[in-house]
Symmetry: C2
Subunit: 232 residues, 2 copies
DNA sequence: TCAATAGTGTCTGTTAGACATTATGGA
DNA sequence: TCCATAATGTCTAACAGACACTATTGA
């Protein structure tokens, strides 16, 4: 066997691998996470994230899509990798290595039928395995970090939407309130949306104009689209 | 075997795994990457990133540290995970899954003795395996994305340094020029450095005051420390 | 009419970025 | 002395954030 400092061994080792999905959805002005009750093999109650091992030649992304689809009954609106988690924390399948993904679903009132899965408010999560707990925490960070560089928010909305709906999605994903006037100014400056000639009236109040996602030229996105905080 | 939508199989599958390191260093005002010549098993010349499989109970981070140390002869100044790469692109060890890390080294003139490794300018990289090419590209993105939230730049400098040196490191890591006055203002506003009472004279010009990294209160880092571009 | 929401105009303090100037050493 | 680099002051346009106001519907 040859000796090279840059590659001390010439073959990759066998490892048990899992793909774990943090499905997030806006629900009652908060973020909710999809978890299922773990089979009662151990004494205390545990909940688990959807997960599985990749099959055959399946890529990580394909495996993640399959697991998300199985858990939801439908394809999620967005699916992105978070990171690999290879510490020694416990995992429900005792995987040595877990690759975490986050998925976004538009409507948190929806639940796959006949499933033991439930939505939990992000602030009131039940006990999960430590490895999956770390993946959940990383999922929130990843969503927030990518939100202003990637059109994640628009995937949670129908093709046309009001600016108030869009702002609400941003607020839920970021976990904080935004300033209305500045939010709209930033949207305008970023050329992300264009108005339609439709308006929608909901309950009381002035009807809102509908917009659609229509990113123009990539613009000099030196610093992405940053939205301003509200005072309170 | 039980049927749960959230976890269709109960055991994680065996997979071949590698940990691949993108070692970056400032060199001649540019970023350089450490690569080694691949053993000539195939016809055309290939270069490879340092990599290896984790051993035994070793965590991903531990394996990455070991590989980086083996390639450099010393520990790097920083080491962070990028992501997992599980597509079907080719890898030098034919790993099904590779976890990429980036490492930072202060001095790019340094080379481990007796090694076939070489620094390549980031803009003029030789042919590497497609999987590792993707890891390199992701490494640049990761460094730039984390630079304003994490004190990566300070790890490339000795305990005391001039502000011009610090700015040069930022410029190399970001791959673009920064505006001097705004850079210093941003530093001041972020309470990241404090002056020492030492000065250093190098060649002509006024001597520069030495500073040290001394982050104060975490401050309301709503938007991290952002540095401004230079006009040109 | 009132309540509620949509959308806009304006003001102010802050700051990014440019520019100019002073400071201080070496050649 | 001239040159090169450090360090700082000032100016301006842009913008964040606050506030107030108008617009438009349903109750």
């Amino acid at each position: 066997m040859r000796e090279r400092p840059s590659s001390p061994s010439s073959t990759a080792r066998q490892t048990t691998l899992s793909v774990d999905i943090v499905v997030l959805t806006p629900r009652a002005k908060r973020l909710a996470v999809l978890v299922a009750k773990a089979p009662d093999t151990h004494s205390r109650e545990r909940w688990i994230l959807p997960w599985d091992a990749p099959r055959g030649e399946e890529s990580l992304a394909d495996a993640a899509a399959r697991v998300a689809r199985a858990a939801l009954g439908t394809a999620p609106a967005a699916l992105e990798q978070i990171a690999a988690f290879g510490d020694n924390r416990r995992h429900p399948g005792d995987a040595e290595l877990s690759v975490g993904f986050f998925a976004l679903m538009p409507n948190g009132d929806y639940l796959p039928s006949g499933s033991e899965s439930t939505w939990f408010d992000a602030e009131e999560l039940p006990a999960v395995f430590p490895r999956q707990r770390a993946i959940i925490d990383a999922a929130f960070d990843a969503v927030r970090a990518r939100l202003d560089q990637s059109p994640l928010a628009f995937r949670l909305l129908p093709p046309t939407f009001t600016l108030s709906e869009l702002q609400a999605v941003y607020e839920i994903l970021l976990g904080r309130r935004l300033h209305k006037a500045s939010f709209r100014r930033a949207l305008q400056a970023a050329y992300l949306v264009e108005p339609t000639d439709e308006w929608r009236s909901e309950g009381r109040g002035r009807p809102a104009q509908l917009f659609r996602y229509a990113p123009r030229k990539r613009r000099d996105r030196r610093r992405g689209v940053r939205f301003d905080l509200v005072s309170g």
